[in-house]
Amino acid sequence: MTRYILRRTLEMLVTLLVASFLVFVVTEFSPGNVARKTLGAFALQEQVDLLYKKLHLNDPLLVRYVRWVGVLTGIEADPLQDPALGLGFKDPRRARYFGNFGYSTLYKAPVNDVLWDRLGNTALLAGLAFAVIVPLSLVLGVLAGMRAGSVLDRALSTLAIVMTSIPEYALGVLLVAVFVVALGVLPGTSPLDPNAGWSIAAQLVLPVSVLALYDAGYVARIVRASMAEVMARPFVRTAVLKGLPRRQVIVNHALRNALIAPFTVILLQINWLIGGVVVTELVFAYPGFGRMLLDASLFGDVALIEAATLVALFVATATQLLSDVGYRVLDPQARR
């Protein structure tokens, strides 16, 4: 098991490295360069050219990528923060340290000052959504899968499909139309500002609902399929035939086996949640990680895009590892 985890962790690091390189390549297609973005639209071309030269931006792609890795691991100082340039870009931490994501040309601040607050806000949003998704999808899925083909199953399965068919921004619009425009009981934007006229809790209701409803439909379908499959197995039939009450058959026999497959899916759902937050945060003007990534991508802030991608990928791959390890612990057959 330890060897397995070590091997997977190593694979994860390689994935992160390859992905960060791919992102580096993709940002090459973006018009404009770091020098232009640093100095702004009103700088003279000569000034931009000078900075371009000083930052060694005409080096080959691979050289620049290795330099970026050097800055990240703390071997090299970020060329953009060199005091000799006179830009005044200064990281209050140190010139070189491990985990130095560089300087954001969009926010004109070290990436590490921008990134983590927003990530915290998003973690709050995603965490609350997760806390709704898991029980909601389990209840829906188990109730539907308990008696496959029944009226209840048909109704709940259709509900789940409808839930997965409403993308976050459409759901956001629908919920805002009902709860903000028609009823006026909730705020339509969530800047997480206590002085915005609504309590923080009220501001969180709609974004959390949007995220949770969209994903819960999908997970509920997986739980239902797994539950229906287990209910058709011989050992469940035996339990029914030996006269156990239905409740006991479901709770003690079926549920345990039915929840192994959804466990992996639920953890992998975090990957989808990360995508969902980009849209949801834009709908509700939520000061989070997803909106930051969108802004950084539209502006072409390479340092921030790289940092955000790495964090998103780390979360995605780490939960994948966690789900695989969990699966091995839960299902003894997978261990062999």
Binding site: I274, L293, L294
Partner: protein, 289 residues
């Protein structure tokens, strides 16, 4: 009666009717098909329907942008006819989404067949690259790609291919691995068929049932994606009518004129629901075998 016919056909050694032929047996699939066809028919008829120009602005209607005899569904924030924009927008989605998914399928099937058929380093290379791409949160991948290569219909197709082909490749690779040891493949080798023949004529047609279902699901996802990109401001450049972009444009006015955002949102939901119900019905049919 039909049961008798089916069993007679089976005893005669003829194949069962294909997945798509059995479609009418699933009520769910038929509802889905109806929803999709509704938009397909409207999209096809768009040029002949007596619609207003989707980009023409009616400044007088902007004073009362709600429903009227002239504009059945009202006008958008710029005074453009909503009904016309919805139908023309449906045309765009229904052109871009299938194109993108088909292109992704071409790439994914090629990758999956090569990886599953030749194994070895080809397999390792294709699977590794697929793993890296699949570990990206999808929306993050789209945002980074489109923001950098620029928003256009072609680039949306490129992004969908890059993001979806690895997933399709994974399915095809798995199916190829399981089919390659079957007798009919061995028979093809005995006939000295080429590798290409075996891949395309022997293996690929036998992958179709899971792929048809996946195709419908992916059409739904891609419709969501195109809408999402439009909403994020990364969709088709204005003034092209684009459902996601229409929702985005109208969200700032949602407290005053909710219809401007609601109609395109409902349009998107019905089309996606159509694809998803179709996929669900197909899954049910293929599992009933």
């Amino acid at each position: 009666m039909s049961g008798l016919l089916v069993s007679a056909a089976e005893s005669a050694g003829r194949p069962r009717p294909g997945l798509l032929r059995r479609l009418p047996r699933s009520g769910v699939a038929m509802v889905g098909l109806a929803l999709v066809l509704f938009w397909v028919v409207l999209a096809l008829l768009a040029p002949v329907l007596p619609l207003a120009d989707p980009n023409a602005q009616d400044y007088l209607a902007m004073a009362h942008p709600g429903s009227s005899a002239k504009h059945w569904l009202g006008v958008d924030p710029l005074g453009r006819d909503m009904l016309s924009r919805l139908i023309w927008g449906g045309r765009t989605v229904l052109a871009v989404a299938p194109t993108a998914v088909l292109a992704a399928y071409a790439a994914g099937i090629a990758m999956g067949l090569l990886a599953g058929y030749y194994r070895g380093w080809v397999d390792v290379a294709i699977s590794r690259i697929s793993d890296v791409i699949l570990s990206f949160p999808v929306v993050v991948l789209y945002v980074i790609l489109i923001a950098n290569i620029g928003p256009s219909a072609l680039n949306i197709v490129v992004a969908v291919v890059l993001a979806s082909a690895p997933g399709i490749a994974r399915i095809v690779r798995g199916l190829t691995l399981s089919l390659i040891h079957q007798e009919f493949v061995a028979a093809a080798y005995l006939r000295r068929e080429t590798d290409l023949f075996v891949m395309l004529i022997e293996v690929l047609p036998n992958c179709r049932a899971p792929l048809i279902t996946d195709f419908c699901l992916r059409l739904g996802y891609t419709t969501i994606t195109i809408g999402t990109l439009g909403f994020l401001g990364l969709g088709l450049p204005p003034p092209a009518p684009d459902w996601g972009g229409m929702v985005k444009q109208a969200t700032s006015m949602i407290t005053v004129f909710p219809h401007m955002a609601l109609y395109p949102a409902i349009a998107i939901v019905t089309l996606i629901l159509g694809f998803n119900l179709l996929a669900d019905g197909l899954t049910e049919l293929s599992q009933a075998d």
